[in-house]
């Protein structure tokens, strides 16, 4: 067992890459393009423990399975703990009929998950990388999103949550780096949520699982080990569709989600120091349905908006935000 754990550590350690001390040579990018700044430990939810992002996900899943006897977790390789160690220990604790592997079939995983959810059980499906979610796109968009509407509220798959590692990691290239939130933003009926840190991740994931609508939860893979915070051990919920103003400012509003929140935090500090510009930073958190009120209110105050995301520009979610802000102003 110890050997297996070491091997698992090597597996995902290799996957994420050990980060050596950055050199000044511009040709090689040796380190991440931001510094993760942990938020202060929340005091309202009881005892906290130092956890990184994947551990906070495991904690959330642990709480969910403990509270809800119908909850099941499934996906590729989740039984041994998952390729990013998000489900470590859960199978031992809750049994092999609650935490189990599926074969290599994303369309099957989501379709199957919809079926589980429709009967009323809580289904937590894992897609191994957001880049692989596309075979399941039809199931999500045509089946999951529209179930409640087309059955006149007779049936729904609200107890379905789909989790997937998301975003660039440095060495992922075409198929281990994608940020597909914009594709799903175009689909009413589902919710899309992206946390920026371990504390946020646990609270938002638990909210997604509780939420009576099918949710897609994207986890920034570059933060799995890099982000460490004091996270409450018990369950707590962070409301969906509520953006958070992380830093108040008066000159420009900067909106981001996931990893980019940390980049713009660094940028805001630099802007203040070097240009004397006061930036208001907003973490959007929920992409769909998004908190138009918070963002618009902020832009009314500052008069300028900058949105930063990893996904391609054309039709990216920034386009939706900027056009809505224009209409609302």
């Amino acid at each position: 067992m110890g050997l297996r754990r070491a091997a698992v550590a090597a597996l995902e350690g290799g996957l994420l890459g050990r980060v050596p001390v950055p050199s000044s040579a511009a040709a090689w990018r040796h380190a991440a393009h931001f510094t993760f700044q942990p938020d202060p430990a929340p005091s309202a939810h009881g005892q906290t423990q130092k956890m990184n992002l994947f551990q906070s996900i495991t904690s959330a899943l642990d709480n969910a399975l403990a509270k809800d006897p119908t909850a099941v977790i499934f996906g590729e390789d989740v039984a041994f703990g998952g390729v990013f160690r998000c489900t470590v220990g859960l199978r031992d604790k809750y049994g092999k009929d609650r935490v189990f592997n599926t074969p290599l079939c994303e369309q099957g995983i989501v379709g199957f998950g919809i079926g589980v959810a429709v009967t009323g059980a809580t289904a937590i499906a894992e897609i191994q990388f957001a880049d692989y979610i596309f075979p399941a796109f039809d199931q999500i968009v045509n089946e999951a999103a529209k179930y409640r509407y087309r059955s006149g509220d007779l049936f729904n798959c609200g107890s379905l949550t789909i989790r997937a590692p998301w975003g660039c990691v440095g060495h992922g290239a075409l198929y281990h780096s994608q940020s597909p939130e914009a594709f799903f933003a175009h689909c009413p009926g589902i919710k899309v949520v992206i946390p920026r840190s371990p504390v946020q991740a646990k609270g938002l994931l638990l909210s997604c699982i509780e939420d009576k609508n099918p949710c897609i939860f994207f986890e920034p893979k570059i933060l799995y080990r890099a982000a460490v915070e004091q996270v409450p051990v018990e369950s707590y919920y962070i409301p969906l569709s509520q953006a958070e103003v992380l830093q108040e400012g008066s000159d420009v509003t900067m909106v981001a989600w996931g990893t980019q929140v940390h980049v713009i935090k660094d940028v805001a500090t630099m802007a203040q120091e070097k240009l004397g510009v006061s930036c208001e930073i907003i973490d959007l958190k929920t992409i769909l349905p998004w908190d138009t009120e918070t963002v618009c209110k902020s832009v009314v105050k500052t008069g300028r908006l900058l949105i930063s995301h990893e996904a391609p520009l054309t039709g990216g979610f920034a386009a939706e935000i900027s056009s809505t802000v224009q209409i609302e102003e």
Binding site: L3, R4, A7, V8, A10, L11, E12, G13, G14, L15, A27, E76, D77, F80, N101, P103, L104, C105, Q107, G108, D131, Y132, P135, H171, G172, A173, L174, Y175, H176, L313, T314
Partner: protein, 395 residues
């Protein structure tokens, strides 16, 4: 006979040291005419599905063929080991899926088809890139992401292409419908070409594979579906992933063969049989190659958390494809041990030179970043990560 008697006499008269010198002289005076020109081998019978007859139970191997196969397999083996080394030195980054252990598959397949036939596979593609005609230096340079690479340094390990070789595909199972499409084109153009569509035991559970079986059988496409069953889909053993591990039967209405993928001659004869089946217009056929990979799924996977070291060692000692060929050739007088050692030395040198090129060739220029997004004439402007960066996408 006389030479051996002389040698024996000298040994008796002059002691062990002299005997060694005499032995060397005896070997050096052997000419290549002393080797047999060919030998016949018995090969394992294939399991058949919906077929009355299978490939023959014997195979003929000529000396030239044997030497060529040996050199090719050894080149692939050393190339993969060199890639392993370069990855550990962080000269190759990203993902790298190595093919050592499975050499008999790609070399056997290539031996049975023509260069005008087509082949498509998944991401464990370095062996096929080589057998389909790309040089080792272009493959290694692609792995290190340099402009001398076969995909200009933009593809990397999983995206290598060559003439009539369609990659090199990252998404599991996605290449199978493509293979059927290529087979349709072969049938349409009527040039007697076929398409070999490869996938792994993990991909065999993807829905699109079954959709492809249906289309290929319905339209009688000249497509050989080949499942390279190396027993593990990443870290999951076949028993834990598939309701039926008889991958050669999973085409249902498509006839199938199960073949020992560690024996090059088995693979070659079966592929010849399958190619004949397709070329004669009978429609698709399915081959399951039972093979094994020594490395883990990728360079991030140590490969020992889901299988034992003993298992890997056992396969290495009993079924290694290169050793199997070497033993066959030496024991049947098709080549000598020294001759094969010379080939080893030659191969090592070639790989070293290729690695040298791969580490010193410059990276592609920044302008290359935006090229080949679309096919467009004249080039159009692509937005970069911020307002002030623009690229020109040329094709």
């Amino acid at each position: 006979m006389r030479k051996m008697l002389v040698a024996a006499l000298s040994r008796v008269l002059q002691g062990p040291a002299a005997a060694r010198t005499v032995a060397r002289v005896v070997v050096a005076s052997r000419t290549y005419a002393d080797f047999a020109s060919e030998a016949t081998f018995e090969i394992k019978k294939c399991d058949l599905h919906r077929l009355e007859e299978g490939p023959p139970a014997t195979a003929v191997l000529t000396r030239e063929e044997g030497l060529h196969y040996y050199k090719t397999m050894q080149t692939i083996r050393r190339m993969e080991l060199k890639a392993d080394q370069l990855y550990k030195q962080k000269i190759i980054r990203g993902f790298c899926h190595l093919y050592d252990g499975q050499e008999a598959c790609c070399v056997g397949l290539e031996a049975a088809i023509k260069p005008t036939d087509h082949l498509i596979t998944a991401y464990r593609a370095h062996g096929y890139t080589f057998t389909r005609g790309t040089s080792v230096r272009e493959i290694l340079a692609e792995l290190t992401g340099r402009k001398g690479g076969c995909a200009k340094g933009k593809g990397g390990s999983m995206h290598m292409y060559a003439k009539n070789f369609y990659g090199g595909n990252g998404i599991v199972g996605a290449q199978v419908p493509l293979g059927a499409g290529i087979a349709l084109a072969c049938k349409y153009f009527g040039k007697d070409e076929i398409c070999l569509t490869l996938y792994g035991d993990g991909a065999a559970n993807q829905g699109q594979v079954f959709e492809t079986y249906n289309m290929a059988a319905l339209w009688k496409l000249p497509c050989i579906f080949i499942c390279e069953n190396n027993r593990y889909g990443m870290g999951t053993s076949v028993e834990r992933a598939a309701a039926s591990t008889d991958y050669y039967k999973r085409g249902d209405y498509i006839p199938g063969l199960r073949i020992d993928g560690m024996d090059l001659l088995c693979v070659r004869e079966a592929t010849k049989f399958a190619a004949e089946h397709c070329r004669s217009g009978k429609g698709p056929i399915l081959m399951e190659l039972q093979t094994y990979r020594y490395h883990g799924h990728s360079m991030s996977d140590p490969g020992v958390s889901y299988r034992t070291r003993e298992e890997i060692q056992e396969v290495r000692s009993k079924s290694d494809p290169i050793t199997l060929l070497k033993d066959r050739m030496v024991n049947n007088n098709l080549a000598s041990v020294e001759e094969l050692k010379e080939i080893d030395v030659e191969v090592r040198k070639e790989i070293e030179e290729a690695a040298q090129f791969a580490t010193t060739d410059p990276e592609p220029p920044l302008e290359e970043l935006s090229n080949h997004i679309y096919c467009n004439d004249p080039p159009f402007e692509v937005r970069g990560p911020n307002q002030w960066i623009r690229y020109k996408s040329a094709c």
